[in-house]
Symmetry: none
Subunit: 182 residues, 4 copies
DNA sequence: AATGAATGAGTGTTCATTCAT
DNA sequence: CATGAATGAACACTCATTCAT
């Protein structure tokens, strides 16, 4: 339980808890009560720091977007270091994807966000940020066409992971990535 | 408003309405009331024809799965007819995807199902049917590795369409498909 | 399943089923569906033969009252045959009570009726018939004061049986009856 | 309408209202809405203070049981003070019963509880507490056999009062009690 | 005559949100 | 400032009753 004397800590705790709850049960089943319990804060804190539940969820997804941006930065630098051969590049990208999916809830989060954006217009810019961010990184490593293809493949991998709950086949994935790089 | 004396029509209307509502607001926000209003039937008809809301949703998704199977059959025959050149094959597949996505709600449905399957175990087999059905068709046209790659790309396209609400770039998509076919 | 061509049989089946259901779940939880299922008749038959559910329940309790009257007649004759000694009289009455309570549902029925009469004025005459019928029989065997005392004791035995689900202690009961007879 | 800022008052009001409603319409017909209306509290208050309707009813009956225990204590001391003659003892007990039955709803409550216990196992211990409590008090004043007989008679009196809505005949009752005491 | 399909009022319960403290 | 008590709208679901067939 974070202290009431640490507003920033509370906000952070709420956002983290919200991300976790959303990843677990989906945006639509996310409740104030679940978030408060998860964050270890009083129920009233949820509406004290964020006017409405949607605001809280949007803020949490926005924060997750920032984390994603940071992840992408790391992806970019790791990929850049492997740019000499297509094979190595594909291997590194495959590895990054697998690592990312190892954190199941986080992986499901992207899909939740994407779909929620379909019903909730104000989430759309946020979802576009994820989508275009990945595409941009991959485009910079190759070209826009390849970047689009790769980013789309990665989104497909994420979606499938949400259903199956399993990691994608490393070799099959790497092979597909290699083909798209050419 | 369907007639109260046309049970088959009612069932059909309910299933169709459910598919639409699910596509619009997501499985978790789908309510008896929304379905009844959309189908133009009284509230009581929903539980009269389907014991519980989950049953109704499952039946609707199952029916959508059957439609999807039929679509896949058509896809397979059209793709087979274009099998002589990779370029043509990619063109036809691109076209089929674009046509499919033209029916926005139906396109979003797949993603909704995939995500809902993540929280709702009983939907998982249904989701797997979609996922594996597409992969099987595309595998038969080429080989398992290519089938996996193509199906994953297509799922990515569907997911992105759910977010952006726009059709994917035809040329970019066809180009990506061609690369995966080689 | 009784035949639709045998209206009297249907009525009887419905009444019997109703008595059973009421005894099992109580008047308030008795439904058309439960009665129809128990009687093996179509749902529509319930409202076809009895305008409302309350009518059906009242008719069933009335019929049970007739059975009760017959039971009382038998009680009276058996008791009369034992009238020479108080000990024998008490022994026979105890035996009759125990036999009656052996059919648990029927035993609970009386209490259900008594209580339902508390909320439902139109059941009151029916309940009074049970109450006064027993009192009359026992009065004729002795005198009004003793009849009142004995009938009250018997009602207490029935009520306690409804709670405990167990038969009353035979010796304790017989002893109490003997005291009241003097 | 009790104040929203008086939790104890609200709980008490809810419990009292529940006892009244149960006494009036029976356990099975007792609804959140009826209780809320009777207590003069908003609907949400019912589930706010008691998680489920059954919890509320059980709590109300439990509280009534506590009141009953207190009543029994008082009965015992008043009866003890009259222990020198059987006639006086019977007179006091009769008086106590009549006083108790003067509060009709409370009197009916016992029967409702008894019957509900027949269908609802978790109410059984509560019902047994009433039943055995009375028997214990009357046993201590005489002997177990007499206690059983008297308690059974009293239960019969309560049950009959629930039907007739009238007080039992004082003289007849006193006479019956006297006979059981010997 | 007899039925079961159909309906909507009413149920218990959840929870976003408000606001007194 | 922070909280949790409080509320009522909305939910899934049941079922007495109606009525076309």
């Amino acid at each position: 339980m974070t202290s009431a004397r640490d507003p920033e800590g509370r906000r952070r705790a709420l956002l983290e808890a919200t991300v976790e709850v959303v990843a677990e049960v989906g945006v639509a089943r996310t409740t104030h009560r679940a978030i408060a319990a998860r964050a270890g804060v009083p129920l009233g804190a949820t509406t004290y720091y964020f006017p409405t539940l949607n605001d809280l969820i949007a803020a949490a997804l926005d924060q997750a977007g920032t984390t994603w941006d940071a992840d992408l930065k790391r992806w970019e630098s790791e990929l850049r270091a492997a740019q000499k051969s297509v094979g190595e590049l594909a291997g590194v990208l495959t590895q990054l994807i697998l690592e990312y999916l190892a954190d199941q809830p986080r992986a499901r989060l992207e899909c939740e966000l994407y779909l929620a954006a379909g019903h909730t217009p104000e989430l759309r810019p946020l979802a576009m940020r994820w989508l275009l961010g990945l595409r941009a990184v991959l485009s910079r490593l190759s070209d826009p066409g390849t970047g689009y293809a790769l980013a789309t493949l990665v989104d497909g991998v994420f979606l499938q992971a949400a259903v199956t709950g399993e990691a994608p086949p490393a070799d099959g994935l790497q092979n597909a990535i290699e083909r798209l790089f050419n």
